[in-house]
Symmetry: C2
Subunit: 616 residues, 2 copies
């Protein structure tokens, strides 16, 4: 097996940029290309045929198509607008979208975490959408609920959660993260409820109060099973809710890296944890959560019997793509369990980076040895530390992983996965009385998700993409290795070819740190700082200029986004970096073209800034 041929220069189709003649990019995903236009149209045809046949069966209309040409006048009898009005509105929409949409498929697009969507995912979404299934209950989605169960198995395998795990799709990372912390928050109150309930008190009487508040996840789940056996589980859970309501856990802390997604601010407010209980931890030079900061906080809390809702780690922080040291955090947890008999819940926000674990997986879902990963993809692509974090991930408690980010699926396709499916019973609610009940083999989705109605089309899209591109080293692993390699190449070019000469001055493009995944953060620095240089202002002006130019010429200019750097090397703190999110692999000519365009565009912005008279 030999991935990643293009890095050796063997792939260089200059006409189609990063695409082969048939629309297959070097990473193996199939995107629109003139050569597959006819086939895609034919597939649309077939989907529409199937849909009309089904529709005719539903309504009792004759299911033979009329032979009249499509532009024959339609003798409408209804009072509403006719097909001519549909054509007008849809035509306007199609025109507006094709005129002004964000050019995700372009290699020059390096801003948000959205790339091109593979043909299979788009067609599957369309196909599912026409039948409008709702995965809240199999009664409303006999086909796509089954597909979501398969996707659930795939995602658990991807994250290493195994047979006890469970996953479901969500509208996005926000909901998935809320749901994880909802579980963790509810779990945290259970030990106290067990201690208060006369039917379970004996089960926890050997624990000191300080230990009890931070009992380990597996122990709490086992105790709940014991409560079930005594038929008091529901009472215990109600008591736990009451303890929370009374403010019994009003000082429970959530530990999150400072680089965490802005959704975490919403999360702690929504769930009533409170900003005051949220500890935003420092990050290190690589923008990973600083392990000594976690250690200090966790030890302090456990020693004092201060409850911890969860430690939230990132596997691919949204600003930097940094992967926290999950192995270190898990070792810290073991250490605490030995020292205090107390523990904490670990949630991983792998919304962006979760699919990258595919680089390390063989088709059975087992971790490849690091040497093998290196050999299969490219020696430098996956850092040992990132590999170690992915190897540790299966021991964490839950993880958000969004197919609509590095999975390349159209919105909406977020997901939450849990290591032990018993966890979701902590948020389970009675299902609506007008839904029937599942067959018991599979955990029903409706009562165990934060959301209710969920489009079955999203499950169809993820399922189809996974059918063609497996979430392991043969599929997504190869695709994402290409993105990582391209990000690293951009990082290295800054090091070796990052000098810009503008209006007689010399600047450098600085990549702030070697990327863990497929995001690069650049800033512009002068080789010699002159009096009056304010690089914070300069970088911000460069960013604003790039953004304005890209909006003015969407197909001709590079698109980047900005990222306010949390810390890292002291010099970065508070600086607005140019954030490049690489959602596709570049072959060498494309890389050269993008690199040249970036240099030129940044130089042009710098020239404008340098030429400005200093503010008075």
């Amino acid at each position: 097996m030999q991935f990643h041929n293009n890095r050796s220069g063997r792939c260089g189709n200059e006409l189609g940029l990063a695409q082969t003649a048939a629309g297959a990019r070097p990473d193996g995903l199939l995107f629109p290309h003139p050569s597959n236009r006819a086939t895609v149209k034919e597939l649309f045809h077939r989907i529409v045929e199937d849909y009309y046949t089904w529709h005719g069966q539903c309504t009792g209309s004759p299911d033979t198509a009329p032979t009249a040409p499509h532009d024959a006048p339609e003798h409408r009898q209804g009072p509403g607008p006719g097909m001519d009005a549909v054509c007008r509105v849809v035509g306007e929409l199609s025109g507006r979208l094709s005129h002004a949409s964000v050019p995700w498929p372009s290699p020059m697009y390096l801003a948000q975490m959205t790339g091109d969507t593979p043909i299979a995912a788009s067609l599957a979404y369309l196909c599912g959408m026409l039948y409008n299934p709702n995965n809240v209950t199999p009664e409303a989605s006999p086909v796509t609920t089954e597909l979501e169960h398969e996707v659930s198995d795939d995602l658990c395998r991807l994250l290493g959660y195994g047979a006890r795990g469970w996953a479901h799709l969500s509208s996005g990372g926000h909901s998935a993260n809320y749901e994880a912390i909802w579980i963790a928050r509810n779990l945290r109150a259970v030990p106290q409820a067990l201690a208060e309930h006369p039917g379970t008190r004996d089960l926890v009487s050997h624990h000191a109060p300080a230990t009890l508040v931070n009992l380990g996840v597996d122990e709490v789940l086992a105790l709940l099973d014991a409560a079930s056996a005594r038929d008091v589980r529901e009472e215990v859970l109600r008591l736990a809710a009451d303890i929370r309501r009374r403010g019994g856990l009003s000082d429970a802390k959530l530990l999150v890296a400072r680089t965490a997604h802005y959704a975490w601010h919403k999360c702690v407010d929504l769930l009533g944890i409170g900003a005051g209980n949220t500890e935003w931890l420092e990050v290190d030079d690589g923008h990973r959560m600083d392990l000594s900061a976690v250690r200090n906080r966790v030890h302090a809390h456990l020693r004092r019997g201060q409850p911890i809702v969860a430690v939230v780690a990132c596997a691919g922080s949204s600003g930097e793509g940094s992967v926290d040291d999950l192995d270190g955090i898990l070792r810290l947890r073991q250490e605490c369990e030995r020292e205090y008999g107390a523990s904490f819940y670990i949630h991983v926000d792998a919304a962006f980076g979760g699919y990258c674990r595919a680089l390390c997986l063989d088709p059975a879902g087992d971790m490849l040895p690091y040497a093998e990963v290196s050999r299969l993809i490219h020696p430098a692509v996956l850092k040992q530390e990132v590999y170690d974090a992915f190897r540790a991930l299966p021991r964490t408690d839950s993880a958000t992983v969004d197919p609509h980010k590095n999975g390349h699926i159209p919105y909406p396709a977020g997901a939450l996965a849990v290591r032990d499916r018993r966890l979701v019973s902590l948020i389970a609610s009675g299902s609506a009385p007008y839904f029937g009940h599942g067959d018991g083999r599979r955990l029903p989705f409706g009562p165990h998700t934060l959301e209710g109605a969920r489009p079955g089309a999203a499950a169809a899209a993820v399922w189809a993409a996974h059918q063609l591109t497996r979430p392991d080293c043969t599929g997504y692993g190869r695709v994402l290795a290409g993105c990582l390699a391209t990000a690293q190449e951009l990082h290295h070019r800054c090091r070796t070819r990052g000098v810009l000469r503008v209006m007689g001055r010399e600047f450098r493009l600085v990549s702030r740190f070697e990327p863990d995944l497929n995001i690069v953060n650049l800033t512009v620095q002068p080789t010699q700082v002159l009096p009056g240089d304010d690089m914070g202002v300069v970088n911000l002006k460069v960013l604003e200029g790039l953004r304005a130019d890209a909006l003015a010429d969407p197909h001709g200019q590079p698109w980047v986004s900005s990222n306010e750097l949390a810390s890292g090397d002291g010099a970065s703190a508070g600086l607005h970096a140019l954030r490049l999110c690489v959602m596709q692999e570049f072959d060498p000519p494309t890389l050269d073209m993008v690199w040249r365009s970036l240099r030129e565009a940044i130089s042009r912005q710098l020239a404008a800034v340098v030429a400005e008279p200093p503010a008075t």
Copy 2:
């Protein structure tokens, strides 16, 4: 203007059932029909053409289509699966969906709140989805964010919230309801924070503590504006969060009707209000919230200074379609404001019924006089009480209204609307640093929604549907009047033609109450009760039998769902009703056919139950 012609018997196209020859149903919506198959295919063609042209511009591929036929061998060079594999997977999906999907378009489908999806909505969703916009920020959705602003205006007009209102789409009713109560919960802690903060204390010092905890919504908003003017608004909000965290509002109550959607159980747990603080109020014979129960609870709480998070009313309860007496609840609020100087937040769960307000609106969004509504649609279709509730709705504080229910849009398309856009600042969070900022004219969506990533395709679908079918009496009003009329016709047929003779016994189909909207609840009753008759068991068995038969023969049998009746007439309580959710208007022949099928299917189930030997 003359709506609803088919009720006078003038429309009776028996070939196409409820459709005219060109696929326009009598209600004016356009659905798939053999006569528009060619046009729809042509539209797909055009959408795909536009998409490929855009894609070529993005990737630099030549944008002329090759002349090779679609089945020419493709000389793929990439390592991944080719178009043959895409065809196989998408073909399998299309086949499975067309074989086993739920027959929403069929008039025999009367189970969940999902109907047929109009062509325009499906095509617009597809068209939007291909460009994969994300309405979290206009940077990721320049076209569809603009469309969502138009939809926001439409939804505010539909609910009567006017120019100060604001609305946004969500993944569904769950999220929208969570968000509303998140706002209400946060608002409730603000007065106490104002009293504690040294910079605002004087603003509320004239209020007694018991009044302070339940200050009115508008007064709290005005006080927050005053805090803004003093530059302490953020401090006050942080203090409010801290008060909540400390359990300062641990006894705040949420008042919800017993018929409320099961999502409310999730909601009170998620937001930390707690099941113990949730008061499930009785309903009256029409399954509307019992106003005297609300009055008793609210007076008791306000008198004692017990905080009320919100009173949640329904405009279309999900089990029964009942519309609560919003006018009565609002008069109660005024009464309390006079008596105690205290008030409460009113949220309306109009997820199902919100679009029915269109029956009462002229194209400018103003309420038509009741006599005019009666004259325009049909004298009996809209009850005076329901009209009064819709007239009162604009004075409530927020409402959930789901385009993917009575708006006939594909999933996911829920929505939340607020009367005063300042309300959403109570949950606002800083936006991600890598997003740019809006132009100030419009409230940006990302920082003001519970969810983050939201598919722009959903906004495109709602926008397109609203372009063709306005949310007023000329558009959705006409569509939904037809659904209501059909539901009422089914109700009346039970009264007049509901006798079933089975195995020598006589039973009656009983519609439990005259429906407010388009849901009918039926039970089966024997004319003479015999010893051993357990009608709870009989109704449940009939339901289970109907469900099994529909699954076995999706296109030949009626589909109903079950509903456990909360109360109403004493005899109903706890009974499992056959719930018919009418998502389309029937012309007379269709109505006869559905009625006959229902009678036959129920009689068949009854025969099986009656023939069973009694349980020993």
